[in-house]
């Protein structure tokens, strides 16, 4: 993944403490990621265990991935605090990646999830101090200006500040931890 300067797409909005069991329920952890057909199952079941009322705020009851599909129509996830808490399963960021997510904007992340996103280069995990999950509605069109550190709600004509990516930006720009380690001369090959 090379980092885009502008990420644009439809938002899917979630609340606080979205854990990895909600992102990809445990019974689906058995499919092989190297098998092209099985791999799609992770996209199909991405966010399938989020309770109805919280799925696609503010209304709720909105499916992230339509039944039988394996890509989501939403490219950007907006979430509250502690996104990705719970198990260390990398299947969670991978499932979002397979479903087509390019960026998540959350108030904070659980540590292991955040590491997995960065070291695997699955999407860009932005943080913000704004309570965007109360500001943005599922389906709003969002544009993230990576260089300027801004997220714009094109539907509502509002914009908000993102926190700098900090230390991890180098890894995200390289692509993943392997590319970064090679770039830094820590891995030969």
């Amino acid at each position: 993944m090379s980092m885009k300067d502008i990420i644009k797409g439809k938002a899917y909005v979630l609340g606080n403490d979205i854990d990895t069991d909600q992102i990809i329920p445990a019974q689906h952890l058995v499919y092989s990621l190297s098998h092209p057909e099985e791999r799609k199952m992770y996209g199909r079941y991405a966010l399938s265990s989020v309770p109805e009322v919280q799925a696609g705020l503010p209304k709720g009851g909105i499916k992230f991935v339509e039944g039988g599909e394996d890509r989501s129509e939403y490219d950007i996830i907006i979430a509250g605090k502690n996104f990705g808490c719970g198990s260390s399963r990398e299947h969670a960021p991978v499932a979002l990646n397979i479903a087509g997510v390019e960026a998540v904007v959350a108030e904070s992340y659980a540590r292991i999830f955040y590491r997995n996103v960065v070291d695997g280069g699955f999407f860009i995990p932005f943080e913000t101090d704004e309570h965007l999950c109360r500001e943005i509605k599922t389906g709003d069109v969002i544009e993230i200006d990576v260089k300027k550190g801004l997220v714009k709600n094109l539907t509502m004509g509002k914009q908000y500040k993102l926190q700098p990516l900090g230390d991890v930006e180098a890894i995200l720009r390289a692509g993943d931890i392997f590319a970064y380690a090679r770039q830094e001369g820590m891995l030969r090959r």
């Binding site: 069991d21 909600q22 329920p25 058995v30 605090k81 299947h91 659980a110 070291d119």
Partner: protein, 432 residues
């Protein structure tokens, strides 16, 4: 200023004299653990990045423990175990606890300790968030994903950011009705599920030194439920004795400095504490047991790395030995060693196994994670409808134990056993 226990271990493994919270370091890894859920993905990434003929950095330092989806006919789950088996053979992995063999162990975090892979002063990474359990042995232990694990497999190293340490002091003696589970649920309830995000949680005080090695494991196990990077306890004599009994490998014990800097210090007085539960659907949804007592339940579950160890079953047996269960009660030993000891160790002349059987509990035929994380439909004890369950496990997120409609309360083995006997949530002080 001196360093905390966590800082000191990380500094040593990065070959640095001193480190501070926030520093990014590359550390040398002593043990990498993986299991059947994340092992295959890790192996795939390892091969993709280091080539089809790559060798792991040290075949004695990669420990593979299948434990999650074991007793199921699910074809994908079985295939994962085949992948581990083939890899272990190809790489000459010394510590592979294969399913169906006499080496089979069960739940990885308990197995790591029983088999001597948890040693003071070391750095342990595992592809499971509850790898923090091993902090009970005075080491730095934390969970990682497949990409990081694949990186370690090839290099023996990983970058870490040094966490600041939060200190939790337990003053006074441990009352007989409290268990480590109550203490940690209390802390998580006070701080919230993200209260310790990125931080080390160090447990200390008179109360802690009274607790057994297994109870220390329970405390550290749930550090992740407060978002913690690692839980850690300075090793005491009984911990060192436990480790020495189980490994011949040399290790260097590390202690924190007296003038170490802590981000926060919180003191709990044990005599003021009461048994607690975490209500559905979050480990920080704390209530005192007496506040929810009488809540109707359909099922009790005693098992997992948090609540399926010998100490947990001994606590439950204290209540079951004179009482029968009123609701379906599932008992799942974490490891084959626990399973064996349930049949050997006695209370008032009766084996624990027979105490559970006579009380009417259903005992799993085999050690594994079982319904702690739901799993395939045929998993022992899995919730499949709108059951209300009280469980000794560590997570009660929606759907965690199998069904999105179910409701799970987390509690200590004493509280779960007392509740099993009454058929409603019950304060263990009615029995002990």
């Amino acid at each position: 200023m001196g360093m905390t226990l966590t800082e000191k271990i990380l500094a040593r493994h990065a070959n640095k004299k001193s480190v501070s919270p926030g520093d990014n370091l590359w550390v040398d890894v002593d043990v990498l653990m993986t299991h059947d859920v994340c092992g295959p993905g890790t192996i795939e990434i390892f091969r993709r990045e280091f080539g089809p003929n790559a060798r792991v950095w040290d075949r004695e330092k990669v420990v593979i423990i299948p434990d999650h989806y074991i007793f199921t006919t699910d074809v994908y789950a079985r295939r994962n175990i085949d992948i581990l088996r083939e890899f272990a053979l190809e790489q000459g992995i010394r510590y592979f606890y294969d399913v169906g063999s006499p080496e089979y162990k069960g739940v990885c975090h308990v197995a790591l300790a029983e088999e001597g892979h948890t040693r003071p002063g070391e750095v342990l990474f595992g592809t499971d968030s509850h790898t923090c359990t091993a902090g009970a042995f005075g080491e730095f232990a934390t969970g990682i994903g497949n990409t990081d694990a694949g990186f370690i497999m090839g290099t023996g190293r990983l970058w870490v950011k040094v966490p600041p340490t939060m200190r939790f002091v337990f003053d006074g003696e441990m009352p007989s009705y409290l268990m480590a589970k109550d203490l940690i649920l209390h802390i998580i309830g006070d701080m919230g599920v993200d209260g310790a995000t990125y931080k080390a949680m160090e447990f200390t005080g008179e109360g802690i030194s009274m607790l057994s090695v297994e109870e220390h494991m329970t405390l550290c196990n749930m550090a992740i439920e407060a978002g913690g990077k690692n839980g850690i306890i300075a090793p005491d004599d009984k911990t060192l004795a436990f480790v020495r009994q189980r490994t011949n490998r040399a290790f260097e014990v590390v202690y924190g400095d007296h003038d170490a800097g802590y981000e926060s210090v919180k003191v709990y007085h044990l005599k003021e504490m009461e048994p607690v539960v975490a209500k559905p659907h979050s480990p920080d949804n704390k209530a005192l047991v007496r506040e929810v007592k009488g809540t109707r339940i359909d099922r009790c579950y005693i098992g997992s790395c948090t609540g399926g160890k010998m100490e947990d079953f001994k606590a439950a047996a204290r209540i079951f030995r004179r009482n029968s269960v009123k609701v379906e009660t599932y008992v799942v030993p974490a490891t084959t060693e626990v399973e064996r000891r349930l049949r050997e160790e006695t209370m008032d002349g009766e084996t624990l196994y027979s105490i559970f059987e006579k009380a009417g509990a259903k005992i799993s035929d085999g050690a594994s994670c079982a319904a702690c994380l739901g799993g395939p439909a045929d998993t022992f004890g899995r919730l499949s409808g709108s059951e209300v369950c009280i469980s000794t496990t560590n997570r009660n997120f929606p759907g965690r134990m199998g069904s999105k409609q179910s409701q799970v309360y987390l509690a200590s083995p004493l509280t779960v056993a007392a509740s099993a006997v009454r058929g409603v949530i019950t304060d263990p002080r009615e029995f002990v």
